[in-house]
């Protein structure tokens, strides 16, 4: 075993914290139809860092679960697959948002109590 610095430990654990949030972020962004690369750029611009090799398979999985629908857009020179949240996806998004806010509130309470 080699020793990892504090920075690296934080980075690794933060990645685990973020993992579940990507789904919520995708559902939130996909009110409007969007294609993979544009969504990745928007997410990264909004501070949700995610790699393409994670995001693109994830979109297909969410589609398979019925949370997203997709459509090929062939109007432009390059055909692209556009995803958008289904009705079920919107309901799940609302539920997840509530969960997220409760979680954030709980963590906020916990961390202020312990840092006192």
């Amino acid at each position: 075993m080699f020793l990892v610095g504090t920075e690296e430990t934080i980075l690794n654990l933060a990645q685990e914290l973020r993992r579940g949030t990507v789904v919520l972020a995708c559902l939130a962004m996909l009110d409007e139809p969007q294609y993979g690369y544009a969504l990745l750029e928007t997410l990264n611009g909004a501070g949700i860092t995610v790699d393409g090799n994670t995001l693109y398979p994830l979109l297909r999985r969410l589609e398979k679960q019925g949370l997203l629908t997709s459509e090929w857009n062939t109007e432009e020179s390059r055909p692209r697959k556009f995803y958008r949240a289904s009705d079920e996806g919107s309901r799940v998004r609302a539920g997840l948002t509530r969960e997220w806010q409760e979680l954030a509130a709980s963590i906020a309470r916990l961390t202020t109590e312990t840092t006192k």
């Binding site: 294609y35 544009a38 750029e41 693109y56 398979p57 297909r60 390059r78 055909p79 692209r80």
Partner: protein, 314 residues
């Protein structure tokens, strides 16, 4: 024919590892996505940008596993402990037994030390390799079948499913040793028919009386195999029960009574072999009677030991 681009090679490497019905769709999307990403980069040349993007997408096997929602482990956590336990058992118990048997056969065949070492190493590599390979293949298959099972059935877990704590199986090692020993005896009986003994005058002789193959040897071999099988049951059930011991007693009788009889009657060994070994000397009948008695005594002891091993509360 033009050389395929890096993107084409990458897309192909990914989609050929995912189910056929999704291939075209994933390929089209991947192609568009890579092209989009390449355009968004500011490397000096498009080729450099393409290369950088593909490096970022990473190993196609890994990406394909993500698309197919397939695990990257050959044997998952459910079966890994059993796999390791069985592998250890095979390599530390079964493999040495096989190697010893092979070496004994070579030794009886008057092979020299160099040949023996060669045989030993050969047996370890080939038999050991086979054990590892087959066990791994079987477990990988079980793992895949079970995973799909779990997805479709998804049995709900309840506390009633908890296994009772296992008491350590004290007699397990002894049972394995017994199986090894009986297997060795059967193999030795089979092997000696290849006439491994060379007499002073150059004739090659069997050690056991060839006449035995007309009758007496069969119950002996059957008894040995039956006892091995029963010991196998004993290992699986982690202990003896009355039925098992009774069947064992019958198998032991099937083995020991004919053996003691043919030893007592001096029919066990090949007369030519005995003449060659003894020369002018004649083995006294008492040696045979004694050996027969020892065989019976050992057998009775073995049966008695197994009755004693029965759980007290039954």
């Amino acid at each position: 024919m033009t050389t395929p681009t890096l993107t084409e090679r990458y897309v192909d490497a990914v989609v050929r590892r995912i189910p056929a019905d999704q291939r075209k769709d994933v390929a089209d999307e991947l192609r568009a996505t890579i092209a989009d990403t390449v355009e968004g980069r500011d490397e000096a040349t498009p080729e450099e940008a393409e290369r950088a993007v593909i490096i970022e997408m990473g190993d196609p096997i890994r990406l394909a596993a993500q698309y197919a929602d397939r695990p990257l482990a050959l044997i998952g956590p459910d079966f890994y402990p059993t796999y390791i336990r069985l592998l250890k058992m095979l390599l530390t118990t079964a493999l040495p037994i096989v190697v010893v048997v092979v070496l004994v056969i070579d030794l009886l065949d008057h092979k020299n030390a160099g040949q023996l070492i060669g045989t030993g190493i050969g047996a370890i590599l080939t038999v050991g390799g086979q054990m590892i390979a087959w066990l791994t293949v079987i477990f990988a298959l079980i793992d895949r079948v079970k995973r799909q099972d779990a997805v479709t059935k998804s049995v709900e877990w309840t506390p009633d499913m908890l296994p009772y704590p296992r008491t350590p199986d004290k007699g397990g090692a002894a049972a394995w040793a017994t199986i090894g020993w009986y297997t060795f005896l059967v193999l030795a009986i089979m092997f000696q028919t290849t006439a491994p003994y060379t007499a002073d005058d150059g004739r090659e002789l069997e050690i056991l009386n060839p006449q035995l193959w007309n009758g007496w040897i069969w119950p002996i071999i059957a008894g040995l195999i039956a006892m091995s099988v029963i010991e196998g049951f004993r290992i699986v059930m982690r202990g003896w029960n009355l039925t098992l011991v009774l069947v064992y007693t019958a198998a032991e009788a099937l083995f020991a009574l004919p053996l003691a009889w043919i030893v007592y009657k001096q029919m066990i060994l090949n007369p030519e072999f005995v003449d060659d070994v003894n020369g002018d000397w004649t083995t006294p009948a008492a040696v045979y009677s004694g050996a027969a008695l020892i065989i019976l005594a050992v057998s009775v002891t073995e049966v008695f030991k197994r009755f004693r091993a029965l759980p007290a509360d039954r």
